[in-house]
Symmetry: C2
Subunit: 133 residues, 2 copies
Amino acid sequence: MLKYSRQREAIKNFLANRYDHPTAETVYTRIKDEFPNISLGTVYRNLALLAEIGEIQKLSTGFGPDRFDGRPEPHYHFICNRCGSVLDLTVDGLDHINVLAGQDFGGEIEGHLAYFYGKCPDCKQEEEKFSTH
Amino acid sequence: MLKYSRQREAIKNFLANRYDHPTAETVYTRIKDEFPNISLGTVYRNLALLAEIGEIQKLSTGFGPDRFDGRPEPHYHFICNRCGSVLDLTVDGLDHINVLAGQDFGGEIEGHLAYFYGKCPDCKQEEEKFSTH
DNA sequence: ATCAAATCAGTAACAGTTACTATTTTTATT
DNA sequence: AATAAAAATAGTAACTGTTACTGATTTGAT
């Protein structure tokens, strides 16, 4: 049985108001303003729990620590390979790739996980300042 | 300057003859048959080096340790969420999703990384044995 | 054969995360 | 409101996967 916890509530609210997909460490240091002696373990436990019950999303990008997304609706992410920032993307109609992937496959494709990477808007603009034009 | 190393050669050959995308730990224990006192650090260093020069691929699935693929040509992977096995997929013509993802995005999409998941052929067959038919 | 650069084995250190324990909070029941 | 069991907590230790360090060995150009 799930009981209320002020710490969990604070973590969820914190994520709901951020769009930069912070790490557990970042959540920890920021929640500390409100709960000075919250422990890192509590942050990890609640992030895992919230992700499990589908109220947030956990992003394992493969480089560096996991990141967390306060928006539970499925959506894709972009990772800037210049500055490392992680951004939300609004892409739809990508489910057909499951069919393509299942074409010559004896098993059953149930879903996919995709990350897009490249230059984020900021880094693109920054780079254009120095290019010939 | 890159110098030859028997250990690196053995690691590369080992991977070239496997299709199950072993972990560094697995590579280590198996290479030990030929090099009884090879160290785990050497395995990690060479796997990273081989991946960097494009002779193998490193797969960061997000759950558990990284896995390594002896085939350097770009291709997609399937992860069975029943038994955890990682399989190669032959899918082509998925590059158009970069365009779709870049539609309403101010930055520049340069590529993507995708994993498909579901039931592998073995687990599918296993499950069908127990279903009503 | 010489010798610098690369690689090695062995081991210590590290990052990110999970597990443990004794205490505190929550919440259903009185 | 008091009670009590279950859940959550803070604090800390332990763990997993990986990287960094060190002094010895191997490689390959001269």
